[in-house]
Symmetry: C2
Subunit: 333 residues, 2 copies
């Protein structure tokens, strides 16, 4: 190393970042060269990428460490929904001039901590200026079983979801209200805010579903339960039936809905940003699924039948639910 | 497939994109699931990511197909500089509302055509709204030899560069002038514009350098020859000496400089966006390098010696050249 030559800010940033990063088994050469070097692996791999834009996918002024954490969680959720084990990720950041090096470093720190919790090492990235904050994560994982594609559901299969959807959308509403108390307890409010800001990717569940062959198809619920159930059904060529009385309602979401005098159902079906796993399981797997440890809560919410689309079924009949939720391209028109 | 259910715009876009993409050996499952599935490979891999922001890394109003092509070329250049073979890439796009689906699809088309030319298949991506166009590529490749890291150069090694640097910076200047003719021939102008808009990644050269063990260290020249020579020297713990009279001057760049009455040297050393490969070779490789086919032009421009930093050497002495070129983080302050 050389002290005579003044270092470029970009290189100084890379040095500061490298000092943070411990060695990782999957990454033979990490941040600081033209590309990362990843250990070869004869097992098939998965790779996904997600882009978060300030003001669209997260609120302006978001804390950088939390933002880095969330960006990585979004990709972890995709890897989880394939039933794969996360291994490495690349992180690109664009940011406006005034935010500078410390903001970028805090974002990287949040990202690598979150990745490490689930076995994914920060292997490299890129940095640029931009008119607002952009964060792009590309993540790779390895398959330890057949992948959980969207296309494997069969008529007669049962439909399950992890956790409870709708909490993140309520959390976003709370964040937008910025503290105006409407009679929600602090613990409920915190739970909902955390569901939005710091979602818990279902990595352990995805691995169990894959390696124990408990699921035939899966999708990560990011655009709303109704929209993603429709995608799962469409890819599999069957109809998904969600039973109204089986949909899990988180107590915090119930309290939120009651405090505002609204129906929680639209949030449950169309809220978005849930990062739960929705999956199809053969009936023969029901017993094993019921016996899974409670750390990975799942609910049976319906089944698949011959037909197409996704419907919510109750005593009054069926209602199509594909048009709920967030459509990135419609929003972009 | 189902015709009763109206498809979400995002899913329709994915369907249109999938229709474009031929099967690829490295990609077992491409666009359209939560993650791509990549064929396992016991060889070590490389992975890199680059992001391009409108108004920073490319000019506003850029043609989407050319932009997709360029974004992929930037990552191909990183893979090339590691001496690896490109295999797959992920593509994320953010775009303002009015541009819509056709713009995104044209960008994808340019990207996959460019990737295919060098063996990299489009495996997946993400799409979001944004205040400007933002393109992020993550690319993976496989190593067929020891990687060309930045850190392997030794005192006594020779310094080579592919092509001729400075043309892209001249091309950017021309694009900003938007057609005001200053006495440059059309063919020279077109060559310079193409160097900026559609750089040629040196994938074949990188593979030759790696598999024939002709290079000990390499870096892709993206921020200017001076800055990247300094990085190569720093990573290797030696000094890079660039000999003034050996620097290649492209005839088109010479004509550009003459037409404007400027010295081409600052463009050659600090222009940026060249996407050439700068590499260190042992003296014993000089003969083989001189015999490489002319499709991959290279020039010997200097050598390494004990010391630090990178200098331009001529009859009047040495001049440090690290502070030329583009610094993404300084620019972001």
């Amino acid at each position: 190393m050389n002290n005579e030559i003044p270092m470029r800010a970009e290189d100084r940033f890379v040095d500061r970042l490298r000092a943070l990063l411990p060695p990782a088994d999957a990454v033979l050469l990490g941040v600081g060269d033209d590309a990362a070097i990843l250990r070869g692996n004869p097992a098939d791999a998965v790779a996904t990428t997600d882009l978060l834009v300030e003001g669209i996918d997260f609120l302006p002024g978001e804390d950088p460490e939390r933002l880095g954490r969330r960006a990585v969680s979004v990709s972890l959720s995709d890897i989880a929904a394939m039933g794969a084990r996360p291994r490495w990720f690349l992180l690109s950041i664009a940011l406006p001039s005034p935010l500078g090096e410390d903001f970028a470093l805090a974002l990287c720190r949040g990202a690598w901590v979150r990745g490490r919790e689930h076995g994914a090492a920060l292997a490299g990235g890129d940095l640029s200026r931009g008119p607002c904050v952009f964060v792009s994560v590309a993540m790779g994982g390895q398959l330890e079983s057949a992948p959980l594609k969207r296309s494997g559901a069969q008529a007669g299969d049962l439909l399950y979801v992890s956790g409870a959807t709708g909490r993140a959308a309520a959390g976003l509403a709370l964040a937008l209200e910025a503290g105006r108390d409407k009679g929600l307890s602090e613990s409920h409010a915190n739970e909902l805010l955390a569901a939005y800001r710091d979602p818990e990717p279902r990595v352990a569940l995805g691995l169990v579903l894959g390696t124990q062959r408990l699921a035939r198809a899966a999708i990560d619920v990011s655009d709303g339960l109704g929209a993603d159930a429709t995608r799962l059904a469409r890819a599999s060529g069957v109809r998904a039936v969600l039973e109204r009385n089986r949909l899990p309602l988180a107590p915090a979401l119930a309290a939120f809905a009651e405090s505002r005098g609204v129906d929680p159902l639209p949030l449950i079906l169309g809220g978005g940003d849930d990062y739960e796993i929705l999956f199809a399981a053969p009936e023969s797997a029901a017993k094993q699924l019921a016996a899974l440890p409670s750390e990975v809560p799942i609910s049976r919410i319906g089944f698949f039948e011959a037909g197409s689309g996704a419907v919510l079924r109750d005593d009054s009949g069926d209602r199509e639910i594909d048009n709920l939720g967030h459509d990135h391209l419609e929003a972009a028109r």
